[in-house]
Symmetry: C2
Subunit: 364 residues, 2 copies
Amino acid sequence: MANPSLLILPGDGIGPEVMEEVKRVIAWFGDKRSLAFDVSEDLVGGAAYDAHGTPLHDDTMARALQADAVLLGAVGGPKYDDLDFSVKPERGLLRLRKEMDLFSNLRPAQCFDALADFSSLKKDLVAGLDIMIVRELTSGVYFGEPRGIFEEGNERVGINTQRYTESEIDRVARSAFELARRRSNKVCSMEKANVMESGILWREVVQKVHDEDYPDVELSHMYADNGAMQLVRAPKQFDVILTDNLFGDILSDCAAMLTGSLGMLPSASLGAPAANGRPKALYEPVHGSAPDITGQAKANPIACILSFAMALRYSFDQGDEAARLEAAIETVLANGARTADLMGEEGGTPISTTEMGDEILKAL
Amino acid sequence: MANPSLLILPGDGIGPEVMEEVKRVIAWFGDKRSLAFDVSEDLVGGAAYDAHGTPLHDDTMARALQADAVLLGAVGGPKYDDLDFSVKPERGLLRLRKEMDLFSNLRPAQCFDALADFSSLKKDLVAGLDIMIVRELTSGVYFGEPRGIFEEGNERVGINTQRYTESEIDRVARSAFELARRRSNKVCSMEKANVMESGILWREVVQKVHDEDYPDVELSHMYADNGAMQLVRAPKQFDVILTDNLFGDILSDCAAMLTGSLGMLPSASLGAPAANGRPKALYEPVHGSAPDITGQAKANPIACILSFAMALRYSFDQGDEAARLEAAIETVLANGARTADLMGEEGGTPISTTEMGDEILKAL
Ligand SMILES: CC(C)[C@H](C(=O)O)[C@@H](O)C(=O)O
Ligand SMILES: CC(C)[C@H](C(=O)O)[C@@H](O)C(=O)O
């Protein structure tokens, strides 16, 4: 049988730097655990724009649709800030999400024991924190039409459309309930049903999916503004949080920052299972392209390596191997290895991106 | 000359309880500082629905438009959760905002020294925190058309429209820059210009207003998701935050919770200055109707009393009297007066809503 295929899109900024370490980890699993992948690489974001004048070449899109899983580094940077909206680096990522139909974006907000002190929050509020945010990723105001800047009378108006169909809500709700069953069996769904009709439909469909097919899961509903408050006040009250594309963008970043482990957090974006049972999937770190530290060997590769661990778990059914990789990372952290972003007030000497990769390979 | 008029809308839940204390404070200013108001009272939210079958009677709307300022307690409660969208308590508040054209919502996120320990955040990150969030309040996805739940093929779709005109952005940007000039002269504007055209127009207009009329104010732009992160990471980097209706809803709640002073935070919603120089204005606490503690004399009246202080400052040009009231509250807190919401881990006996009112009157 052919090896499963992995398409690597390092992207911009620190993307290529952290991806180098991921490639070494992938090679290790091929060598040592007989988990070989057919790895290929391509451009996305600003890097693709520089080469092709578009943030995602059609050929790359086609390869992503063929691949068993896509690993992405990061996109964007100040160099591209003044580009036209239609060719901004972000459009490449958004096109991947949309055309691969990756409707379920899993964003763990997890606090690593060794790093609990880094949180802005008091330690007891975040130690052991383990939330999974399920964000709808292919619809809502990110993709709704009409959209654009139009003339109206003698001025311009900027318009975007928040839009959710029942089936879009239904499928992402299912993925949240499925996940909850494998965790602490609790889902909190967030919207603004008190001011938005799309939120009313969201709440209604989530409740219906629950009542019909997941009555065993504990379901609650919360307004998204209160959700932001509760995340700050007492994040451990949550297990799985289910929300839409735009609220998910903001709430997951807020939750990620709470953990103090921002440079450590991976994400998975999943579609519906294909004929072979495997979902279309894209894995990427939560952090961005970090232009301020690009090229300085300072970037923490852990979020991107943990994204590969998520790939092992969700795309390749290798939960044990994923756990092996995660455990190696815990060990490395417990031993005190720290990239610059993980340096606390005590000081000390940070290690480089490659050195962190070395440590992880050693621990494996 | 006639006394300025104040319309009081206590609303639901703890609204009426905290408003009782505000009324005593208003009376004190009439007696002791010769600042007499013509105070009248009316219903809003669930209370109005119970009486009239609508969360805001047309007569009340007319009185609000006539009043020099409106003071509102809170709206909503579980009793009204199943009401039709069009008569939910929130619709009363939203109608007031819209018909009074209160486009500029000022939400201070301030950490009271005596309460810095209550924050979920580490004390040094929030002690002395003083942010002002300026949220656009009469447009965006809260009011944009088309909206509703529609049939499409054989399913339903929920639609809301995010919509901003240049002039809507222009006027709220001006109010943020004006405020910044009286503070630390810094504005950070937040949107999602990387994914939403309405955000592109927002950024462009804010920049233009700045360049043309407020070049002395320091202006930066940030994506709203990063804004949520930065609020959690290092809130003191901000002075004035300018954002739209929906992002403002979430980010201001997040910021409010950071301070640890949620039961303490007031807000002002201002329109354009009328012929007499006074803006249409509505003042209300940031906290909600708190059904869980309603009727138990536990509510903290300070946020609502501080909302009256904002009225003194922004509607009646009585900055000194506002400062007097704020100082009295600082004193009371420094002396250790605490309602139940302000009880820390050390314990102690909380005082009631009325007792807190007593203390504040004594300190005045
Ligand atoms: C880069 C950007 C388009 C993206 C988003 O808004 O979804 C990012 O913020 C994210 O959360 O993945
Ligand atoms: C009560 C609700 C309609 C309101 C809003 O969403 O604006 C509230 O959350 C607020 O922030 O004032």
